[in-house]
């Protein structure tokens, strides 16, 4: 072997390490993305197929509103293609943890389940009836562990023991369920309609004979991957067969159930009729009783009146008599009094007389005395001198005394007469008085006699009155008691009849509802092929999306990578000009020269290809898969190197490296050897077309003109730069837009659209009258600004064969705008909620391909009603339909019951929120509260995984952009060394030399950036769609700020590259560069 030759080869690789490594790197990068993104989809498909096969997932699931019987099972077994029929039970119950009531779905499994097996991640399979298996989501999100004991509660009015034998279970295993790939378990009637987990129980635990669901395994070979169209076609034929059977069986079941229920309803109706009869009877009796009482009352009344009348008359008589008696008595008394008085007076007079007599006597005596005295005195006088003074005096005295005696005697005799008269009078009077006394006595006697008589008669009368009164009282009491009893009875009757009536009303309502329901029941079988399994479909869709992504991104990467490698290799070979020339001159064959470069590039290509494929197939695929996995319960990714991918990648790589090398080398070799020896003529300069427009051209500064000309002079560089930068800007722009859209979702959805702060769940569905009290209580709390009541549940909507499961919300049209903003996304015009139809969310409208004014079918499958779309509203999470209560009633045919209260609160901190929630929950009509803020945060977290993709893209776009610019600059500087050295010699300062070169870079970046932004608008659409998972809506909105930022980022890379390149420029040695070729 030509040893020097080989040596040269490997030395070459060694010497140009940087170049070799960068070549390998760029190939690796291109291949990495290409294979990674293109392998994810097939890997996912393979993984899912293997998963479904391993756990023997059933092909068909049948559901029916009325359930299934063993006869149905047998009928299905008759179908040829059916190999296995597994009837099972599904029952939704409530699991409570940390105050949160979670609706979960229980499924039945048998001890040796062969179809629809579950993947046991931890623990073991069920063995006993009080054990359960719990799905991984409940473990991861709610914190359950193996060994925990859980209790199930009924979520509705039915008693749980009607369905399940026991309610407490020990968790023995954590499982992953192949039939529930996505985190969507279906909708339920419990709570707010969202199932939060799944439990598996032993089938013997279920108490009922009626199966909820039947799983069917067909004879379609397991070798046919379930995600393939072939499988779907084969399955569809079998599904048709099952549906046919379903038609007959469904009818039979319907009739059975209908008849049964009908009888029940009739019985209930009869019972009600009985009850009502009884009530009527009672009422009658009460009426009678009342009549009787009235009779009695009337009679008593009459009796009383009669009595009163008689009493009055008698009383009057008695009174008169009494008055008379009284008069008589009074008279008697008066007379007695008079008599007594008279007697007294008389007595007094008598006494007076006596006194007078005494006095007379005294006076007489006195007078006698006086007389004596006089005599005495006379005597004396006699003895006296008639002329003495004493005689005069005495005489005078005796005269005086005589006078006195005389008058006294007169008086006495008057008095005596008087006394005698008085005596006589007194005696007369006494006689009269005695007579009067006698009369009085008689009168008194008679009076007493009359009085006694009166008293007796009175007593008698009183006695009789009392008797009558007593008797009346007795009857009155009887009446009162009778009345009391009556009223008690009446009250009792009223209370009881009110209760009974309301119960009857309820029961009647129930009956009506039951009748309604009965009229709406359908025995229709819902036959679901695996290809319709929601989780499956979603997975498949996402798989496709990833596939699409795989076609968009890597292509650009790869194109740029290819260009870069072509440029690098071209440069390398051009540098070797003289070496090639020398070898040619020495006589080496063209082949051997070409071979040299072939070896170089092949080594680089293979290394890059190998590295890229491995990293892409095992690391990148996993990263992308993990991002989607957040939304699924799916197994670990089965990774393998995709042959197709590898082949395509290899082809592109080889074309851009080895083939390129060969072509360029041949081109060089076709030049004459002598020419090769000389340095390559520099690329000629030409007028560019822009120069023709003198007006514009002359405005440019000189150095600017130089730069523009230079740009167009190096066409390959121009091409590569624009593509590279454009591609990167486009990717950065798309990535940023995607991130921005996703960020906006949460803030817009829970800040602007669902502007309420709290969602308060009612314990059970209730009508307005029932929830009114709770609503008022909530409204009265200070921290609550306003509250309204709604019904939020899920149902199905259909149009043009496309069916979707959606959430609907029934609100009060006048109030709802304070809680939910219904508006057109673009114009921001608000949409009114009225009775004319329904308002649906934007993504739903797109999916169903409808616009305002179109009609869609909405409601439970089998009984859907057509409604008109009156508005399409802005919405980013899930699919929503809004309607008024009357529209609801039109669709579902029953009176609306509400299950939620939405509330707006003041701005509260976490503590206050908790307090408020606790306060509200005191009302036992309230079962739970969710804070919008918390829901928001949780959702943002789950979306963060999506961002992995975004950052991956942006990161790689940046990296690529960097590499492109770096490479371009590097080569560009190399190519123009002479030119740059010349201007250095001319005296350009270092920074002037920099500007000279980098002015071009900046212009290129600007052009590339602008092209990139335009490109970005076009690829943005598909990228958004690929990032859009089932539940979110990412409208494509062009945002100037994102444009600006993307552009800025690209500019930054240019600047960084320039800075690094500066050093290169400084290093250009004028002397070396300008060395003449001697």
């Amino acid at each position: 072997m030509k040893t020097a030759y080989i040596k040269e080869n490997f030395r070459k690789i060694n010497k140009t390490k940087t170049r070799f490594i960068s070549l390998v790197l760029i190939v690796t990068l291109g291949v990495l993305f290409f294979s990674g993104m293109n392998t994810v989809s097939p890997d996912m498909e393979k993984t899912m197929n293997a998963y479904l096969k391993e756990y023997n997932v059933s092909d068909i699931q049948i559901l029916s509103e009325l359930g299934f019987t063993d006869e149905d099972v047998n009928a299905i077994k008759e179908i040829n293609e059916v190999t296995n029929v597994i009837p099972s039970y599904i029952y939704d119950a409530i699991l409570e943890k940390d105050g949160k009531r979670m609706p979960v779905r229980t499924n039945s499994v048998s001890k040796n389940q062969t179809v629809n097996q579950v993947q046991i991640l931890e623990g073991r399979y069920i063995e006993k009836e009080n054990e359960c298996l719990i799905d991984e989501r409940l473990v991861d999100e709610r914190g359950y562990k193996i060994g925990d004991v859980i209790t199930l509660e009924s979520g509705n009015d039915d008693d749980i023991s009607e369905t399940l034998k026991c309610t407490t279970y020990t968790i023995v295993g954590k499982i992953r369920i192949p039939t529930y790939i996505s985190k969507y378990y279906g909708s339920t009637e419990l709570e707010n309609g969202e199932l939060l987990g799944c439990l598996y129980l032993l089938d013997s635990v279920y108490n009922t004979d009626i199966y909820t669901s039947i799983y069917i395994k067909t004879n379609i070979s397991d070798k046919i991957p379930k995600l393939n169209d072939e499988y779907q076609e084969k399955l569809e034929t079998i599904v048709d067969k099952v549906e046919k059977i379903g038609e007959t069986r469904g009818k039979i079941r319907y009739e059975n159930v209908y008849n049964e229920k009908y009888e029940e309803i009739q019985n209930a109706k009869n019972k009600i009729a009985d009850a009502q009869n009884k009530l009527r009877e009672s009422k009658e009796e009460l009426k009678k009783a009342r009549e009787k009482l009235n009779e009695l009352s009337h009679q008593i009344y009459i009796g009383q009146i009669t009595f009163s009348k008689t009493e009055i008359i008698t009383k009057t008589l008695f009174e008169q008599y009494y008055n008379n008696l009284l008069e008589a008595k009074t008279k008697l008394d008066d007379n007695t009094g008079l008599v007594t008085d008279s007697q007294e007076k008389l007595d007094a007079d008598k006494q007076k007389l006596e006194v007078a007599k005494k006095e007379y006597a005294n006076n007489e005596a006195e007078l006698n005395k006086l007389n004596l005295e006089i005599e005495k005195l006379l005597k004396i006088l006699e003895n006296l001198d008639h002329n003495s003074s004493d005689y005069a005096i005495l005489n005078r005295k005796i005269q005086y005394l005589e006078q006195q005696y005389q008058s006294g005697l007169k008086l006495l005799s008057e008095a005596k007469v008087q006394l005698e008269n008085a005596d006589k009078e007194i005696q007369e009077t006494q006689q009269e008085l005695n007579i009067a006394k006698g009369q009085l006595e008689e009168g008194t006697k008679e009076y007493i006699k009359n009085n006694n008589e009166y008293q007796n008669k009175n007593l008698q009368y009183q006695g009789e009155v009392k008797k009558t009164k007593d008797s009346l009282e007795y009857y009155q009491k009887m009446l009162e008691n009778g009345r009391k009893t009556y009223y008690t009875n009446l009250k009792y009757y009223e209370e009881e009849s009110e209760k009974a009536n309301s119960e009857i009303a309820n029961k009647e309502k129930e009956i009506q509802d039951a009748e309604n329901k009965l009229s709406k029941i359908s025995g229709e079988w819902n036959v679901i092929g695996l290809y319709d399994n929601q989780g499956f479909v979603a997975f498949k869709n996402d798989l496709e999306k990833v596939g699409i992504m795989g076609k968009v991104f890597p292509v650009m990467f790869f194109v740029v990578a290819a260009l870069v490698s072509i440029t690098t290799i071209t440069r390398m070979i051009e540098e070797d000009r003289s070496t090639i020339a020398t070898e040619k001159a020495l006589g080496y064959s063209k082949t051997s020269i070409i071979l040299k470069y072939v070896i170089y590039t092949t080594i680089a290509a293979i290394t890059g290809l190998a590295l890229g494929t491995i990293i892409g197939s095992y690391i990148i695929t996993n990263i992308l898969y993990e991002a989607y996995r957040i939304l699924y319960s799916s197994p670990d990714l089965l990774m393998e190197i995709n042959k197709n991918c590898l082949i395509i990648a290899a082809i592109i790589t080889f074309v851009s490296t080895v083939l390129c090398a060969i072509i360029i080398t041949i081109k060089e070799l076709n030049c004459k050897t002598a020419e090769l020896m000389r340095p390559k003529a520099p690329k000629e300069g030409k007028e560019i077309f822009l120069e023709k427009c003198n007006g514009i051209w002359n405005r440019f500064s000189f150095l600017f003109k130089v730069s523009i000309r230079n740009i167009f002079r190096y066409k390959r560089r121009l091409f590569m730069a624009v593509i590279g930068i454009a591609g990167c800007t486009a990717l950065i722009y798309s990535g940023l837009s995607l991130k921005e859209s996703v960020d906006k979702i949460a803030t817009k959805q829970y800040g602007e659209i669902k502007s309420y702060d709290m969602q308060i769940n009612l314990d059970y569905e209730m009508d307005y009258e029932t929830l009114k009290e709770s609503l008022e209580k909530i409204r009265e709390i200070d921290e609550v600004e306003s509250a309204t009541y709604v019904r939020e549940k899920s149902t199905d909507i259909e149009k043009n064969g496309i069916s979707k499961s959606i959430f609907y919300l029934v609100g009060q049209p006048e109030e709802i705008s304070d809680y939910i903003k219904l508006q057109n996304r673009k114009s921001k015009n608000s949409i009114e909620l009225n009775d004319n139809g329904i308002v649906i969310s934007e993504k739903l409208a797109n999916t169903l391909k409808v616009k305002v004014g179109d009609k869609v079918k909405i409601g439970e499958s089998g009984k859907q009603i057509e409604e008109t779309i009156t508005g399409i509203t802005e919405n980013y999470l899930f699919n929503y339909v809004y309607m008024t209560p009357s529209v609801y009633e039109n669709i579902f045919g029953e009176e609306i019951l509400y299950n939620e209260i939405l509330a707006n609160t003041n701005k509260l901190n976490e503590m206050q929120e908790k307090e408020l929630a606790t306060k509200i929950k005191e009302d036992d009509k309230i079962s739970g509260i969710s804070l919008v803020r918390v829901t928001n945060e949780e959702y943002i977290k789950s979306l963060e995984s999506l961002m992995t993709i975004v950052f991956l893209c942006i990161g790689c776009a940046s990296l690529l952009s960097f590499i492109v610019l770096f490479n371009l600059n590097s080569i560009n500087i190399e190519e123009r060394q002479r030119e740059l050295a010349t201007i250095k010699v001319l005296g350009f300062y270092d920074n002037e030399v920099s500007s000279y070169v980098f002015r071009e870079n900046v212009i290129l970046t600007v052009i590339g950036g602008l092209v990139g932004l335009i490109l970005g608008i076009f690829i943005l659409g598909p990228i958004m769609k690929s990032g859009e998972v089932e539940t979110i809506y990412l409208p494509v909105e062009l945002n100037w700020i994102t444009f600006a930022v993307s552009f800025a980022i690209t500019m930054v890379f240019t600047l960084i590259t320039d800075k690094i390149m500066n050093k290169r420029l400084k290093k250009i040695d004028m002397i070396e560069s300008l060395k003449s070729v001697e």
């Binding site: 300069g685 150095l703 130089v706 005296g987």
Partner: protein, 233 residues
Amino acid sequence: MSYIEFKNVVKEYTVGENKIKALDGANFEIEKGELVVIVGPSGAGKTTALNILGGMDSPTSGEVIIDGKHVENYSERELTYYRREDIGFVFQFYNLIQNLTAVENVELATQICKNPLNPKKVIEKVGLKNRQLNFPSQLSGGEQQRVAIARAIAKNPKILLCDEPTGALDYNTGKQILKLLQDTCRKENMTVIIITHNSAIAPMADKVIHFKNGKSENIIINKEPQSIDEIEW
């Protein structure tokens, strides 16, 4: 005091373990307005000396005094300034900017110096009035070199340095170029230094410096320099 003084200039390169002395104590003086020709065999150090004179390189030791200034100690920036304002360089392989027309090439140089001449006029002076809008690829070798000279002259330098300016040109064209240089020297009173292999043109110079083994031996002064027209070889 001469206009240009080279005093014991030594330029040493270290390549691997070997030390190469490109200049080993060069000494010469040049007066203002002189037309100097430097001759010598390959590797004698001519280009090195010119490079140092032109501010593209710095001596390892020795003094280089141009118009009284010690250029040997100049920093990078000072050298750049020196090249910008005081030096005009003409290369053997023209080194024109391919992307600029003839007049633009000259403009490129005039745009950066303080006291340039009018590019158009200079182009005319070198006789390329009709070719001024052509790109170098559209010009013949002689025309290109004339543009290069125009570029150098337009800067209005103190010194015009020419490294084998006719090396790539044929006899007649070369003569034309040399005439141009001579005329420029005489008319504009510019100091012109020409390196050449061709000792036959030595008579046109005012001074001839012979270089050998890195030293400037033999400095001959021509009292009566001939016009290039008269010289045949």
